[in-house]
């Protein structure tokens, strides 16, 4: 697999292309997670949102998470890409892909990576609502529980 385990992107994610990079003739299982921009949060209609990242630290923390997954689970390859900038409804905000010999490990590692990325990587989300209001999630606006 080429490229870093974790990266940011300012343009739309090409999921088939990302998944292709994880393919491995020895691997029977590929689990992918796509997080998409939803049209609502806490009952308010979301029109678009923006992601801001502290990229230098984010890249390091993201790479640590991928390395942890490769160490803790019996998987072959793992990758995560997170969008930054302005996104529209339905856009893919984050993608995680894991290939492995066996599906149990692929599911567990994929879940681990997205949970840790959401918890640890310095990325912030500002939602813009249909009523013209906007706010930073977890700072000015409560996120829905459980988080998506």
């Amino acid at each position: 697999m080429d490229g870093p385990g974790f990266s940011f992107s300012r343009s739309a994610l090409d999921v088939p292309d990302l998944a292709r990079a994880l393919a491995d003739p020895a691997c029977g299982a590929l689990v992918g997670f796509e997080g998409r921009v939803r049209d609502h949060n806490e009952g308010r209609h979301v029109e678009r949102l923006e992601y801001e990242g502290y990229e230098e630290l984010g890249l390091k923390e993201g790479a640590r998470i991928i390395a942890e997954a490769l160490e803790r689970f019996d998987i072959a390859h793992a990758r995560c890409v997170h969008r930054l900038g302005l996104l529209a409804l339905g856009d893919i905000a984050v993608w995680v892909g894991v290939s492995a010999h066996h599906r149990g490990e692929a599911f567990a590692a994929c879940r681990y990576i997205i949970d840790e990325v959401k918890d640890r990587v310095p990325i912030w989300k500002k939602e813009h609502y249909a009523d013209g209001d906007s706010g930073w999630i977890n700072c000015e606006v409560r996120s829905e529980a459980p988080p998506p």
Binding site: E52, Y54, L57, K60, V121, P122, W124
Partner: protein, 79 residues
């Protein structure tokens, strides 16, 4: 006195009205520096605020050294 570079993101960037600044401060630690800047910029109360020094996570007792780059990290919301 130490000269510290401070970078702001998200809600703190908007409240400070800037993405970064150079601060000459008598604050000895990251925690003291935050309290100084919180008062100056009127930052909101944030649960579980974190801090990084020179692009690594640090704690609030981290002693500041001239030339340090400090980033306060509001609650994250990736994904």
């Amino acid at each position: 006195m130490a000269r510290i570079r401070v970078e702001y993101f998200a809600v703190l960037r908007e409240r400070a009205g800037r993405a970064s600044e150079q601060v000459d401060t008598a604050a000895a630690t990251t925690g003291e520096l935050f309290r100084e800047l919180e008062a100056r910029h009127g930052f909101p109360r944030l649960p579980s605020l974190k801090v990084a020094v020179n692009a690594e996570f640090a704690d609030w007792n981290r002693r500041l050294v001239d030339g340090d780059c400090v980033v306060f990290i509001p609650p994250v919301a990736g994904g």
